[in-house]
Amino acid sequence: MKVATHIVFGECCLFAASAVFDFHYETPSVLAAALCSVLPDADYPKSWLGHQLGSISEDLHRLFGHRSFMHSLLALALVTAALGSLLWWLTGQSATMISVGVGYGSHLFADMMTLGGVQLFWPGRAIAVFPGRDEYRVVSGGNSERVFVALALILALLFYPVSRVGFDGLIYRLGGADTLYGTVTKVTDGDTIEVETQGRTTPVRLIGVDTPETVAPDEPIGCYGKEASAYTKQILYERQTDKEGRVVREGRLVRLEIPRIGDSEDAYGRTLAYVWIDTDDDGEYEHLFNEDLIEQGYARTTTFAHTYRREFERAREEAEERGAGLWSACPEVDVP
């Protein structure tokens, strides 16, 4: 198969794996998957990679032959362990190691779908093929390969957006959410507020974030808990005044997004919601306060699935790298 076919299929597999197995990736992972999707052809001097490697490729070909050791499960395990670990260490992202395995594995799977098959169980000489019937397999360089790469490209384009939000995120988005507008009447904690909607006050727990405890009766005040609580109070409970300076509203007007999938309340009877705020007074509530808490380093992320989990994870990683908020103030605290 051609280099382009392997790269497209490798990326398609990475996006699909990310969507299904719930790991998020960044640019280094995409590059690692692309590189490793052509790496097994190092044993073939006539391939693109073989030309680049020169005598190394010729030596590999002489020692093992094409589609033998380099196309085996053994090589997959070795490369993933060695190169994957190295990239993980260099980038600090575990997703790069997964990408190495996925990219390399995608090459083996793609070659298994060609007429020749691969010696997947090397040093055993049996040739693994998929599917079993010769007429259903791809002819390298033929029309069937063009069809194959076109399908892989379409699937990659379909999987890409799903991989960015995660399969969880997709399901929660498809499930939709209810919207409520209300005024914040009290800030209990960094991640818990009370909102008055339709004449009724409701306790609200912000989804996907976890600020250090400040009010739990049986727990000490957590590191950076007071700061988180103060920040939430500053943003959500700030007094709103009109042009003449008269107090219009004590708390801030917010939009609550309550997902339809999953529980709408937690064990303490608090409504689980995303809190959207209007930052530039244009009447559009498009700033997600939950994410803001993570970006500023006031909160950690929770582990359960929800609509914006991927976005929150990315924001947390960035905050952690910057050493924002609690990540520099109290990094030794174990994540619950």
Binding site: Y44, L115, G116, A126, A128, F130, P131, G132, S140, I171
Partner: protein, 198 residues
Amino acid sequence: MDFDTSKNGGRREHRHRSGEIPGFSTATRTDSSKARALEDGDFRIPAGSRKAALVHLALEAWRKGLLDPKELGEVRGRIVDEAGLQRALYRSSIGEIEHVLGPIVKGRRIVVEGRLAGTGRTALQRLGAGVEELRLEDERRYVDMTPAIFVVAAVAMAVRYVSLGLDDQSLYILAGMAFALMYGLRPFFFKMQRPRDG
């Protein structure tokens, strides 16, 4: 770049009606040291399914004058040529062919030109014959990975129940979609499987 995947590997062009064949080695599955030249009392049949093996064995016995076609019910007492006998054999039940062949092949060596399916081998061995397979010395052995799909389908089905236990809705939906896809494409997956050699 690709290997030659023709399952016969050109073996039909090299086939001779008797004696050793260049490129073939005669060996049982278990002991290749038992290879020896074809003898007069031996039978030589092409590879195939259990029924095909028995039919070819019966035809071979008929050619050697060891089988009376009239013993087969489907022949109905007529005089038949090779084609007629072959038709009658295919119409006959496996049990009837085995009954007719039993006394003829007992204690004899049967050389199969290629790989004999497990049921065919068992059938011939039950009749008291020794079975040997002729294999190309550089024959490539293929492993069909299509059944792995059925393993994935089974895992998807199991994950649905696991997700119920974990109360994970998205996992339940994902596993359900995967299983539905696998189940829907099941006939196609069966068709994708590599046919048995012979």
